[in-house]
Symmetry: C2
Subunit: 322 residues, 2 copies
Amino acid sequence: MNTLEKPYVVGIDIGGQTTKMGIVDMRGQVLAQTVIRTDTHDDVNLYIDDLSAALEKIISESDSDEKIRGIGVGAPNANYYTGNIESAVNIVWGGNRTIPFAKLLSEKAGGLPVALTNDANAAAVGEMTYGAARGMKNFIMITLGTGVGSGIVINGEVVYGHDGFAGELGHTCAVRHNGRLCNCGKTGCLETYASAIGVARTAREWLEMSDEPSSLRSLDNISSKDVYDAAKEGDKFALKIFEFTGKILGQSFADFVAFSAPEAIVLFGGLARAKEYLYQPIMDSMNANLLPLWRDKIKIVFSQLKESDAAILGASALAWEL
Amino acid sequence: MNTLEKPYVVGIDIGGQTTKMGIVDMRGQVLAQTVIRTDTHDDVNLYIDDLSAALEKIISESDSDEKIRGIGVGAPNANYYTGNIESAVNIVWGGNRTIPFAKLLSEKAGGLPVALTNDANAAAVGEMTYGAARGMKNFIMITLGTGVGSGIVINGEVVYGHDGFAGELGHTCAVRHNGRLCNCGKTGCLETYASAIGVARTAREWLEMSDEPSSLRSLDNISSKDVYDAAKEGDKFALKIFEFTGKILGQSFADFVAFSAPEAIVLFGGLARAKEYLYQPIMDSMNANLLPLWRDKIKIVFSQLKESDAAILGASALAWEL
């Protein structure tokens, strides 16, 4: 296939509630995009019918019929090697099944090639193709969203490992002693501290443990957004929560660096918006925990992709490599 | 170069005290080997004179002149990308200098290509070429010696990272809270618990802290070998030390698996000889700390290379890839 003849790719980001998709060019411009619900059908074939109908619509709108090289999909529990979605319990048509998603979608899309990976790996490829990691061959993408995801790039390639599931850094141990219980069943996972949910959890725990004044005390169901807003207002308690979160992240990042010696760690996701409060604590804590040879040499960079487009861009970037 | 015409490689393992070298065939047979002192000269050129004289001798003894494809070198602080040995403070001719070792040796060896890496990476390549990791494309080599070294293989290639120094897993944090002080200046490094020195340190600490009877109490300067010997005699205190060491290793291994999803973790080095006491605690602790998707799926295997040859074999294996 020739790049000039087929200058576009499709990116599809599948979440538990909604599925975003778009047509993307080589520069990372989203020509057209749309959203459907993920949770309407518990039969994956009916879901794929919806998906391809929505896709046909934006393809025709953007006049890109016959110009699509391939389709990239970011989805939970997606296996790059097999093209399967495996035991995706957070998706209604997922459950405990193994779904040959790439195959099903490719058939429905007239044989277009389909590549599939999890959202954090897709974000890493997106950042390498269009964003902050352009030109980098060794970096680690950390997505700070509801959970903590990761995509590891070594020598210009995403690390999938022996089974296709490498890069679960959100479930490395950040706190060994009396660590928080994680959804995965383990305790002390990085994700329980450094995700949006983790930050809210820190706020609630600390409010209970101390008498320190904070505007957060007046709120009922504290979210990470509330902590961010309070920090913006200069609330010292909220600022300390970000310091703590950054410290935990930096400690873990130092161990990640010891593994793959990346040029940079790239941060993305809702919580990464708090970069003015996270950057310095992360840097200080990472450097304090790095071997001397890496001290002050590893960059922390924040995603440059427009957040509304990022999920689509990440998924779409996979399709260039097909 | 043709494999049949040039069927041998040279492996050189540089330690602080001695340098071992040998001629190796494709099956990992060591045809001839010898040892020189590393610490006789503080000028690297004089050291390389010694080295090449010793090398010429075993080449002529084994009748392998003109049959050598290349030279692989395992050395501390060796950078695979540059061929330099950088700030190797434990080598008399090392110091704080950057030594273009591959270049110097290649010139002295009539232009034979020379590849250089640290000993743990060399061990990983050796294990992949001749040993327990043959046929594996994704594994992590952990060397349990005086310290803890590591070589990470992803997609059949050693991970060197952005700067050539990836794979310092001995200096990831095993104990965050009140961790032991490491030679590197950090605290809690895996190496301070799971190396030969770490095991001896555990023995001394525990003997002081408890009154539990143990044959180790009668010894003056306890080594990991003493702990091993005591365990062999059924000493419960010594057995508990290995249980603890295995638990710490397993916890760390679980985090390494979350990074690169290897097929196996391969153990090598003096302390790995205690496999009958380490295997089960490592397995139990690793599985307890793995995400469910990896539980009971990651192998722990012990090196199959003859220990007296292993350092030479590891270094030599690098040369096949030249």
